[in-house]
């Protein structure tokens, strides 16, 4: 190909005016960028674990602590329920004991699987609720 013509072609092409978008293009792009960065900031400032989670967690801890304290201080004998319904309370007590003895006998691997499953569910929830950040 003729090199001189090629140089000429380049010179002509350099003079050409390219197609332009609408005059407010830059403004629109910047508006969109600001909108997106504001949304991102809002997501970042949001707490990963909501109020509901913490209420549920506190209730669970309080309940667990109450059961533990009552069990250790021997509060059950003072209760009137076993005296009123001796057979029912005995049955529930036996089932309760057998459930926990079975649970204690379960292999450690099952515990591990359950724990890992819970962690994965938790991570999944975090990722879904912050999909914009992870995207």
């Amino acid at each position: 190909m003729n090199e001189l013509e090629d140089i000429k072609l380049q010179a002509f092409l350099k003079k050409l005016e390219l197609d332009s978008p609408k005059p407010d293009f830059t403004v629109r792009v910047m508006n969109k960028i600001f909108e997106e960065s504001n949304a991102l900031e809002r997501i970042k400032s949001e707490k990963i674990l909501g109020k509901g989670f913490w209420i549920f967690m506190i209730l669970f801890v309080v309940l667990f602590a109450a059961i533990f304290i009552l069990y250790n201080t021997g509060a059950q004998p003072d209760s009137q329920l076993p005296n009123l319904l001796p057979e029912v309370s005995q049955g529930i007590g036996e089932k309760y004991d057998s459930f926990f003895s079975k649970l204690a006998g379960a292999p450690l691997a099952i515990g591990g699987i359950l724990a890992a499953f819970s962690v994965l569910l938790f991570l999944d929830r975090i990722i879904i609720s912050n999909s914009k950040i992870f995207a």
Binding site: M1, L9, D19, K22, F25, T26, R28, V29, M30, N31
Partner: protein
Amino acid sequence: MRINILVVICNRPTIITSKEQMEQKDDIYYIEKVTAGQTNYFSYIVERYQDIVFSIALKVLKNREDAEEMAQESFIKAYKSLHTFKGTAKFSTWLYRITYNNCISEVRKRKIHYTSTDEVEVKDETTEINLDGIPEENRAKCIQEALRKLPEEEYTLVLLYYFEEQSIEEISKVTNLSESNTKVKLYRARKKLYTILNEMMKDELYTIL
């Protein structure tokens, strides 16, 4: 000529400057400002590259509205991944690559099949052309028309090589082609452009006669 336009974007004053004034500063200067948190400076980059980004998008998508949307998306994508830009290549190469890939994947997603101008037959013997033979008043119009008739890939190659003065290596990065393939395709694109110009000149001659 210096033109400063003060606009308010999302309640933030942003200065949009004329292109001549912007070229005084390197892209890296604006990129550093943006990555440091001064988002307003990205408007300089948009202003500088909007025409070429829009032209590539328009050529691939063949529709002004779609092209504007795609150009906008490309700039937003570039802004979001600006922290990944390492500065080893030119910023423009990196931006054109984002634009080109965006447009191509949009075309694939929509499964658009264009009646390409690929049917322009490239004749080995008749590709030489004397550009001075085209009347000066029609020259720009003719070349623009010939460029429009090129298929999207070849148009992008010609635009980047001649208009943007990008190297073969840079163009191969934008188009994901190997360097040798880029060279071959660019050669073919050039030939095709000359063939189209030849045809146009013949047509013009017949009209006169």
